[in-house]
Structure formats: C-alpha cells, structure tokens
Symmetry: C2
Subunit: 385 residues, 2 copies
C-alpha cells in the first residue's frame, strides 16, 4: 500500500518528538530510481510556508530524490530562521542519502507560527532516525507520521498494465480549493518524465483535490508531489497515466472528505446543465461555502432555500427561477417553486447528494464538502490549545 507499493521506493515514519502525543511525526520517502522524475502542485495561498518556498525551487528541474515530511509544526510565518530550517532539513536528508539537498522536497504541517530552535532540532534528529529505517514496506509508517487531526491514515493504490501508483495523504480541516491543509505524496514505477508527470498531476488535482472544499479555508502548506522511479520500465500512454493519477487522487480526496474535522455528513454537490464547467464549479462551491446550508444538513434539515440563496450569489449563467434542486433523490424545488415536501427528504445517511439543474448548457461539476457541526466548532476552537 501507500508510497512503497510501486517498485523503486523506500519510506519510513518515525517519532521525532514534534507531536505532544508521542506518535510518529516525521516521514521520509526516497526514490530509488532508475528515473528520479517528479512534479508537484502547491497551495495557491500567497502566504506560503517556508517548506513550500523551498520545495518550489527544488521542483524547478523536475528531479527529486526524496521527500521529507513532518507533522507537529507548519514552519509558516517563522521568518528567515524557519526557511533556514527547511534548507537544513533538506541538507540533512541529502547527507544521509548521499544525494543533493537541491533534490529534496520538504513538507511541514501543523500549527502556523511553530518553527523555532526546538522544532529545528527535533526535525533534524528525526531525519537521522528516519533515514536509518528506510524500507520498501515503510509506506504505512510514513502515512501515520504525517497525520495531524486525522483519525485514520489515508492510503491508496491504482494498478496500471505492468505499472502502478500508490499514495498517501493527510488532511482533516482547512480543506479548500487551491488545495487544503493537505499533504499528498504519490509514487509510481511507470517510466514517465517530469513534463508527463506535471501534465497528469495538474489535470488530476484540478478535478479532485481542487473540488474538495470542506470548510472554505485555504492552507499555507499544501503540496501534492508525484514521484516516478521508472522501475517498471513501462511508459503508459498519457491518457492511461492521467486516468490512473486522477483515480488515485479522487480516492484520496474522498478519504479526506470522509475524515473531515467534526463532520457528520459527506456532501456531494452536483451541478448539471451549466453553461461552462467553471460556472458549475462556482455554483457548487457557493453552496459548499454556505454555513447556513451546512448547519441545516447537520440538523438533517433539507433547507433548499439556503441552497438557492447561495447559488444566487454567483455570476454563473442561469435564471434563478428556472432552477431545479434535488436532495437525496427528492426534487424539492422545480423551476424556482416548491415541489415535493422537504419532509420527504431523508438526511440521516452520512452521504448527501445535492443536484442543482441550471437548465442552461451541458457542463457539469461536483464539489465535495461536509456539514457544519458542533464538533467542527469544538475541534477548531481548541485546536491550538
């Protein structure tokens, strides 16, 4: 499973002492080649954490030897000292693995503002122990080490024809477009060069992670990295490879949604017959951002008026009084008027499907979100304390 499923990779997850719980909190993933190609997408937040600033440079040449990830501290808004820490972390990994620090991606997650001397010391010592236990079965340990408020590790695998992709993800809150508080590492033994990886990864994340909007908040540390070892010796078609990466990202995105902080419902908002795909995304996202709608779902209240009120805030092409809204199979609003009684809608299942028919064109998009619950408020009011 996970990042050591595909051939040509080793990984480990160790206890560096960053988490107060004493659980694994530092992960290392090494690409053993023969190819060392990589691509990555980063948060679109302008407030980028130090590991993001470092990793963007590393990805410049499309060559990555290893990825080191820590939980227990975001190393964001920690100044030049924090950037030096990311740099020193890459150098320490380089020393231990005999590779260039310039080919080592660094990812951090946890509380913003944490990244001082104690953080640095623990991360560097953690690198030493992580490097010493790298194995081709270390994927699960690595997946555990990147967990923050996640209740379970997120792992996935997709099999190609003689090649495969595996991956791990973390993220339970701050899930929003432009990525989430989300770290993802994908590894494949397919023989694909950096441009090929980049094209497939951008197409995949655009349709998956970028359409997961749990709480509308955008993180400072998000990164999805795809590594190719070429160990299978097989080069799949761009179509096949992109489809596989997309399938794996979709699987991991659903796992993130299912484990979102405090959520009691997984909500899929499907917008159909939009003029453009962008319109469909904008409409779905507006509903996913409505606290009133999300609180109503928590209360098992099919309050469709709050859906239409959110749709009305968008610039998408539609007639507000032509729209149909269907919740869990029950059309509660037809052409902007009440249709079947809201009482017919059963919102007790965890999975909720909202179908919005704009009746304009042929474009469709689905946005994944969660409900707004007491537990969400509780977890996020206590997060840093």
């Amino acid at each position: 499973m996970s990042v050591t499923h595909a051939a040509g990779f080793a990984a480990s997850g160790v206890v560096a002492g960053l988490k107060s719980t004493g659980k694994r909190d530092l992960a290392l993933v090494q690409n053993l080649g023969p190819r060392k190609a990589a691509a990555a997408v980063f948060t679109s937040n302008r407030a980028k954490a130090n590991p993001i600033l470092w990793s963007e440079v590393v990805l410049g040449d499309g060559i990555v030897e290893a990825v080191v990830l820590n939980s227990g501290g975001a190393n964001c808004f920690t100044g030049s000292f924090g950037f030096q820490t990311s740099h020193l972390t890459a150098e320490r990994v380089g020393e231990k693995l005999g590779v260039s620090a310039g080919d080592v991606v660094v990812c951090s997650t946890g509380l913003i503002g944490v990244g001082g001397q104690d953080f640095r010391d623990k991360v560097l010592a953690g690198v030493d122990s992580a490097a010493s236990v790298l194995t081709n079965t270390g994927g699960e340990d690595a997946a555990h080490a990147i967990m923050t408020t996640d209740s379970v590790p997120k792992l996935g695998v997709v099999e190609g024809d003689g090649w495969s992709i595996g991956g791990m993800a973390k993220g339970a809150g701050m899930l929003a477009p432009g990525l989430a508080t989300m770290l993802v590492v994908l590894t494949t033994d397919a023989d694909v060069d950096a441009p090929g990886l980049d094209g497939a990864l951008r197409a995949a994340t655009r349709a998956t992670f970028d359409r997961l909007d749990s709480d509308g908040c955008m993180s400072t540390n998000d990164q999805v990295t795809l590594l190719a070892s070429g160990a299978s010796g097989i080069t799949p078609s761009a179509e096949d490879f992109t489809a596989a990466v997309t399938a794996l990202c979709a699987d991991l995105a659903r796992q993130l949604q299912a484990d979102a902080e405090g959520a009691s419902h997984n909500i899929a908002i499907e917008t159909i017959h939009a003029a453009t795909e962008d319109d469909a995304v904008e409409v779905g996202r507006s509903v996913a951002r409505s606290n009133l709608f999300k609180a109503a779902v928590f209360g098992n209240d099919p309050n469709w008026g709050r859906i239409l009120a959110a749709v009305g805030t968008t610039g998408a092409e539609f007639d507000p009084y032509a729209i149909d809204v269907t919740i869990n199979g029950v059309r509660v609003c037809a052409s902007g008027e009440p249709d079947r009684p809201a009482e017919d809608v059963d919102l007790t299942p965890r999975d909720v499907h909202v179908l919005i028919d704009l009746k304009v064109g042929d474009a469709t998009a689905t946005i994944l979100t969660n409900d707004l619950t007491h537990d969400y408020v509780h977890e996020n009011s206590a997060y840093s304390s």
Copy 2:
C-alpha cells in the same frame, strides 16, 4: 424612537398569525408628508424574493406612501402566486390608506419557500388590522413586528438641526455584504428629494451594512428603505444629511452584530495602510469569512496564523511577510514573524479588535463580524424545524 420619531410618520405592528409564537409579525409605516420622497437599496443576491421584485418597481419614481413588512415568511421561491401576494398586499394597503398600490413598498422576512394561500390570507388580514391602529407612537410596535430570531428590537435616532432621522432594523443571521437577512426602514422629516435620499443612503450603506459580515451568507429579501416626509420644512446640506444617515446606519449595524445568532464575540477587523479601500475591505472580509479564525475566537484562542492564512487568499496588494497583526492591543505577528506571545492576548471580552497593517498605502476599512459558536450551529440547524 424608531420610525415614528421624525415628524410626518405613523406606524403600527400587529399580530397576523404568521409567527408560531403568536407575537407581532406585521408592520406598517405610513409617510404623512407633505413630501413623499423615498430611496432604497436591495439585496445584490440574484435570487430576489417576490417582495423585492415588487418593491424595486415601486421605487422607480422615488415616491413611496407606505411600507408594509411581515416576518414569519420570506415569500421567496414561491412562484407567480407569491408575486401576486406581494402585489395584493400593496393593493390592500393602498385601499386602506387611500393611496396608490404602486407607491407601497412590501418587505418580507422568514423562511424561504413560505408564501402560500395561508400566508397570503394572514398577511392581507394583518394589513387591515395594522392600518386601523396606525399612530405616531407606533414605531416600537413596528420594530417588534419585524423581528425573526432577533432577541431584541433594533431602534435608533439621530438628531439634525431642526430635523431628525429615526429607524428600525431586524436581522440576526445571514448577515453579509450586499446586505443581510436584514430589513431596515429609516424615516426623516428633513425636506430632501429622492435623488438626495438615494445618494445619502448609498454612501451610508456602503460604509456600514455592507461591511457587516456575520456569517458570509447573503439573503434574498434584504432591503433598506429611507422615507422623507419633509415635515420639518428644513433641507440640510448633502454633507450633513449623509453624515446623519451614515451615523444611524452604523448604529443599527452594530446592534445587528451584537445580536447575531449564537455569537459570543463581536469582532471588528480593521485593515490599515492598504493600497486602496477596496483592498482593505477584501482583506478584512477574507478574515471575517474564515470559519477557522471565527471558531478560534469562540475558543478565546488568538490563532493569528489563521488570520494570515485568510489574508493570503486575497488579491490585495501586500507582502505576506511584511504584515503586522495585532489582536486586542497585543502585536502577535510583526513582519510575518511571531512577536509577543499569543498567551498575552485576552479574548474573554465580547468585543474583539483585530488590526492588520499591510504597510503598503494609506487606505483603511473595518469589517464587523462574529465568532463561530456551538449556538450558531444549533440555531441554524434547527431554524426551520
């Protein structure tokens, strides 16, 4: 107080049976003249309720004889029957007061989708009783009749030099730019024509109600109406009049914020040294829309990282690593690095002040919001049940 403070107005608030609580739920405000000038601003939501569609037409000629308002039903997404109900309501008011239905503004608030035959019957009967008890001391009854989840009526008065303005407002949730679930009626005995009222009202709401963003949700029924009777015979300068209208709107906006559903903190987000006022508004609004920040404030947790993460999502001009953030007088972040310890910040008072210094230009704006609490989730998950 309220809409009957200024000379030349009569008002009433009665029980029409729309509220299950049996409390007052229909209000009527009549302009006795001699002038019958009016201006209004409406929700920018594209999904406009039937009373909004009706009232936009009424305001076309700048003449308004009366405003009728009901709580207990939004008459939104109720189809052509709902629009006919708004029309019939204006006609009934016209009959009772001997004025043209085309000069009667209609406002509704409550649950979207409510506006059927029962609603129509109760509203029309309520108009009859409201018209029969109009008095120049009816302002407080009217203010009570427009309350929904409000815990207190919102009333205000500003005195000019020989003239005055009074007003009433309702709104406790769905408070967002482009107006909120908010109905406001302002009355003045100043002798100002419709264009003068329009200019003053737009300037005032832009700097007050449009900067109140309690929960990021935009309503379908919002309307702020300003009526001038001219009864004082005095025409103030545009500057003095705009200042008075702005002061009254600011007072009412603070009352709405203080009574926001479930809130335990009133948060003022002041952005300074922005390149433009629009930048300052965008930055403040991004923080006001961050559920993570709002939940942290509920937990008395000065999580400044969540403030910077929100600011980083904007397109405003700034260097993320040059920003200072001060919470309740304690500068917790200086030039993008930790400054004084977050523990020094006392978030136990209800009023919270967040100061964001972008260090770019000279523009400033303040956005008012509330924290995200268990009670907010509870009230809005149970609202329609």
